[in-house]
């Protein structure tokens, strides 16, 4: 997959919130690009503005200055070609697993005909074959998040935005889902912007890790992860993995703690 084509380009992005005590600067001078088919992780401590950045990319929040471009077009509002996965699965309890996955299809009136079988395939891909007609509350937290990922992919979005999708899960489930996400990504080569506060998770998954420092949110550095895929959990002990983790962590030791 050619990495030359630039899918997302963020230029001089700045976000200010008006509060009762005056404006608060959440993001300042954010510049980065994401190539077509690239997996980029943004890592930073809680409150560094990661989620604000993701909401701007999703078109849910306007930027104060600067812009975010998707294929050269400024993102000014919600778009139909972006898939979002939030920290919680955000499933609708009155819809079955299949109907939850088809939500984007229903909203964007893409027609259920071909998409039902596509949804079934995607559900098999994430290991949920046979659960199509169950309800979300019958599933474990990890399974629910897999439904959410499937829903994020069903309408063939140009990019998938993931906002700490595994942050609320236990460590074991999280590792399992990291492997699973890698497998899905290797199969589909989706462009992914993945936000996390876990350095290890970022290094494990991404081609490139953007390091975000807080107050105001700013991209301090980017670290390219050259470890070949498929990566296994055992690789977390490898020297190049540790080196990447160490480099990223060095940014936060001064400013605040961050989970490894």
């Amino acid at each position: 997959m050619a990495r030359s084509a630039e899918l997302i380009s963020v230029r001089g992005l700045r976000k200010e919130y008006g509060t009762a005590r005056g404006p608060v600067l959440a993001l300042d001078r954010i510049d980065f690009a994401v190539g077509e088919g690239e997996f980029v992780a943004i890592v930073g401590p809680s409150g560094c503005g990661k989620s604000t950045l993701l909401k701007i990319l999703a078109g849910l929040l306007p930027a104060t200055n600067g812009q975010a471009l998707l294929r050269g077009v400024s993102i000014t509002g919600p778009r139909r070609d972006i898939g979002v996965v939030f920290q919680s699965p955000v499933l609708f309890p009155w819809r079955t697993v299949l109907d939850n996955v088809l939500l984007p299809v229903d909203v964007q009136r893409l027609g259920r005909d071909g998409n039902v079988s596509r949804a079934m395939e995607l559900l098999s891909l994430v290991g949920l074959h046979g659960f199509e007609h169950r309800y979300p509350w019958e599933l474990s937290g990890g399974m629910q998040q897999r439904v959410a990922i499937t829903r994020g992919l069903i309408h063939n979005p140009a990019m998938l935005l993931m906002d700490e999708p595994f942050g609320a899960l236990d460590a074991m489930t999280r590792e399992g889902l990291n492997l699973e996400l890698q497998r899905i990504w290797l199969e589909r080569r989706e462009t992914v912007v993945f936000i996390t506060h876990s350095i290890a998770e970022a290094v494990f998954l991404a081609d490139r890790v953007l390091i975000m420092t807080p107050r105001p949110g700013h991209i301090a550095e980017e670290v390219r992860v050259a470890i070949p895929r498929p990566r296994s959990l055992d690789m977390m002990g490898a020297p190049e993995f540790s080196e990447a983790v160490r480099r990223i962590r060095s940014h936060f030791n001064a400013k605040g703690r961050l989970e490894g």
């Binding site: 509002g77 919600p78 972006i82 919680s88 955000v90 009155w94 939500l103 229903d106």
Partner: protein
């Protein structure tokens, strides 16, 4: 064993308290126009059932209650939706609603009868007025209860406001709506009966009043019993609808543990 003994114990307790009531009334020679014995109530119930007088009045009260329930609920839902979705509507209408809400609606019944006459219409209006508030409040609270993350998800898919309403806000409001409807049903029966007290040509409320005047207290008890059963059946109907519609709601929000109901009579 335990599972079998409990219902049996319940029936036994009921029979025992009825027998105690009967014995007490007989032993103390309580006059029937103060407190009739269960046997006298039963006799009155039987007489009326055979003559068909209860059924005739029951249909009228049932029609008043159901029509009032439907009218009150529809108006409450439409107005509640307008208030929940538009801050401007809320700003202009809210003072009137608060004022109207803090007034005991049963106090309006005499006026309603003067305006709408002794027939069906005044009873329906009275029932609708009283049924209105529980559902209005629950509609507003329910439509605003949609989870913000879910709204964000819908927005991120470029959903229209109408789609967000139909696919998210309305289903999210259902537990509240059902709880409001359950209260509205009971309240509309109250509204119909109160209007019948004020002035009516037929209905179970009218029957209670006329029997009260003729000191037929046993007959009055019989009608009260029928009204209790009617209320129970109406509520059971809604509970069964709720169970079907809200199969997905883990909390099974009921009237008791559900959202606050600031309706009042």
């Amino acid at each position: 064993m335990n599972g079998l003994r409990k219902p049996a114990l319940r029936v036994l307790l009921l029979v025992a308290s009825l027998l105690f009531w009967e014995a007490l009334v007989r032993a103390l020679r309580v006059p029937a126009f103060i407190l009739p014995a269960p046997s006298q109530v039963w006799a009155a119930l039987y007489r009326g059932a055979v003559s068909g007088i209860y059924l005739q009045h029951l249909w009228i009260t049932l029609a008043e209650t159901l029509l009032g329930f439907v009218v009150g609920s529809v108006v409450a839902f439409v107005l509640g939706t307008a208030l929940a979705m538009s801050r401007r509507t809320e700003y202009f209408l809210y003072p009137y609603i608060i004022m109207f809400q803090s007034m005991p609606k049963v106090a309006l019944a005499p006026l309603v009868v003067v305006w709408f006459g002794l027939g069906l219409t005044s009873k329906v209006v009275s029932a609708a007025l009283i049924a209105f508030f529980p559902l209005l409040v629950n509609t507003i609270v329910g439509l605003r209860s949609a989870d913000e993350d879910r709204v964000d998800l819908m927005r991120s898919l470029a959903a229209s406001e109408l789609q967000i309403f139909r696919m998210l806000r309305l289903p999210s409001a259902l537990p509240f709506l059902m709880a409001g409807l359950e209260v509205a049903m009971v309240f509309s029966l109250v509204g119909a009966i109160v209007a019948e007290f004020v002035g009516a040509e037929a209905g179970l409320g009218m029957l209670i009043q006329s029997r009260n005047f003729s000191m037929d207290v046993a007959g009055e008890f019989a009608v009260l019993f029928i009204l209790a059963v009617l209320g129970l059946l109406l509520n059971a109907a809604l509970v069964s609808v709720r169970k079907r519609v809200l199969f997905w709601d883990p909390s099974h929000k009921s009237v008791a543990d559900g959202p606050s109901l600031k309706g009042g009579l």
